[in-house]
Symmetry: C2
Subunit: 340 residues, 2 copies
DNA sequence: TTGAAAGCGCTAACAC
DNA sequence: GTGTTAGCGCTTTCAA
């Protein structure tokens, strides 16, 4: 039977609603005997407490708000998966909100989440932090209400916690490694200027500049098309090459873009990695889908997510937790680069 | 200012809480003048009503429960994305619950959702319907409380609505087409015996049997490894071939599996499609990731999702809606099959 | 068109 | 160890 209230249960069990409530919430101040009596009735009638009423009293519903720009993105989808699992293991549920990429929608999505009285909001992906401080106001405002967790982005504000992968170093090392393998004209292929996007680019730039190799700004190619349109990515590189840009290596900001480079090489009849070496980012499923398989940077998503949840649980139980945690990535070498 | 109540607003606006409530809920029985007065105060203090209290009264929070086995699966992630967008456009929010694949977890996930007082639950993916009726009890029970929507699965019960792609016909046609292209030993590669999985298999079988070509049960290869392990998929085909199974075509139940076949062909030095023709399913991002690109069946996910939401909104507003809707898929020909 | 007041189902402080 | 009771913030009759 459904739609029973705590009153019905208290009546059938011959106790007060307070006692039922205590049993429900695992209070110790109930004798084993009455506890059992109450639980029996609860089970018999399959009673479940009304979440709203409970929320009204506690002002919390044990729910965490998840925001990501696009849950169909391979990388973000994976993050959602890990986070949702971990949260549930900790007794929390998740409300998902796909915010899209523009600021206004993000602000709206945040309002939705906050108005649902979530206990925290987790921003998944690096595109939630903006250059201008005023554009990050929506985060500061949210953090005034509940802790805000950032995955793959960093922002310093009260009640905001950041968990990031060291994208700068990963890219720096990947670039350096490629330079040491004898390639000096390395193209950087990217599609995001988010926090993480900038860090990656900086890693590439630094490595190139340290070797005096960044001769042309054209070596940094920004792609603005669809995330899934591998052909369009390939075409862009083809056009760049036709215009006289010479490059024998491509470092891409994600695996999709790297696949665009593979596509370009195949269409242009270039051998991989002899004529064109390629490195991707995220170490996703896509790395094993192409031939040769893609060398990629593993940024330890699962570890990041685990740490994020650990931190969040700490914060929610009132512990002092680190405001920013950095993990380092790892280059997974496959067929698109020369083995060291 | 946050954490204001309807009482604060009513006081500042000089009206009763009932009037504020009416304004909040867009009732017509408020004069334009007082409406404006109240709205001004609401805006000034950025007041938002408490969702719990509202839920307590209305017994609904305009929230739809989403369940899927694994949100990191490419296909399911896409479905989640579409559905979440469409729901929000209709003024609903979504609670996501990744249930995993075993029945017990699904039952638990369902309980979680129902106890959150969602207005409906959407089961994304075909693995929620079982052979045995008793295993579907959790759906019938849920449907006694709220409408249950099935994406890519069909089940006939009160208050359950099914939106499916005609997987049988799609597979039947893909198989027939391959037979007509001159291939008679076609292997079927699958990894799911869900509702949709069975329909696909049946489509293949029927086409093969109609041509008297299903000589060996070994032609139907079941893969039970990880969804993402392309190598393991390839190995399985390799082993099958080593054991003497001969096949010049592969029809796969999804694009991942098809990619396993591509991998197998490449390792075995087989030309695609001359020595091995391959067809995938879902027309996902993966189709353009390999060389040659993958012929695949597009099952119109976006259309399915749109229709699902339309149906749901109809149901929620009390309209009579179709219990089962079927869309047909389409074969998208690319490089892994002979062009017709 | 507006206001007063009775719930909605639960938690938690306070008594016993 | 158990019961009584006052909220929590809103919606919604019912009167006026």
């Amino acid at each position: 039977m459904t739609n029973m209230t705590i009153y019905d249960i208290s009546e059938k069990a011959g106790v007060s609603i307070a006692t039922v409530s205590r049993v429900l919430n695992g209070s110790n101040n109930v004798s084993e005997k009455t506890k059992k009596k109450v639980l029996d009735v609860i089970n018999q009638y399959e009673y479940t407490p009304n979440a709203f009423a409970r929320g009204l009293g506690l002002n919390s519903m044990n729910t965490i708000g998840l925001m990501c720009a696009d849950s169909s993105d391979l990388y973000l989808a994976k993050a959602i998966y890990y986070i949702e699992q971990l949260l549930r293991a900790n007794g929390y549920d998740s409300i998902l909100c796909c915010s899209g990429y523009d600021l206004e929608s993000k602000e709206k999505a945040m309002d939705v989440l906050i108005s649902k009285k979530v206990d925290s909001v987790i921003l998944i992906g690096s595109n939630y932090i903006y250059e201008k401080d005023e554009d990050n106001k929506y985060i500061v405002d949210a953090a005034a209400q509940v802790p805000v967790m950032l995955l793959n982005a960093a922002f310093d504000a009260p009640n905001v916690y950041s968990i990031v992968s060291d994208d700068f170093t990963s890219m720096y090392e990947a670039t350096t490694q490629m330079i040491h393998s004898g390639i000096s004209d390395i193209l950087y292929f990217y599609n995001s200027t988010s926090y993480s996007g900038k860090r990656k680019l900086a890693g590439y730039r630094t490595a190139m500049e340290e070797h005096g190799l960044l001769k042309s700004g054209n070596l940094m190619q920004f792609y603005s098309g669809s995330h899934e349109d591998i052909h369009a990515m390939g075409s862009q590189l083809e056009k760049a090459a036709e215009k006289g840009l010479s490059f024998h290596g491509v470092i891409a900001a994600d695996d999709n873009l790297a696949l665009g480079a593979v596509k370009y090489a195949q269409n242009a009849g270039l051998r991989i990695p002899e004529d064109l070496a390629i490195v991707g980012y995220n170490n996703s499923l896509l790395t094993t889908c192409c031939t040769p398989e893609l060398t990629s940077i593993d940024n330890k998503l699962e570890t990041l997510c685990q740490h994020l949840i650990t931190t969040l649980m700490g914060v929610l139980t009132g512990n002092e937790m680190p405001k920013k945690t950095i993990f380092s990535g790892e280059i997974i070498s496959r067929g698109t680069t020369f083995s060291k």
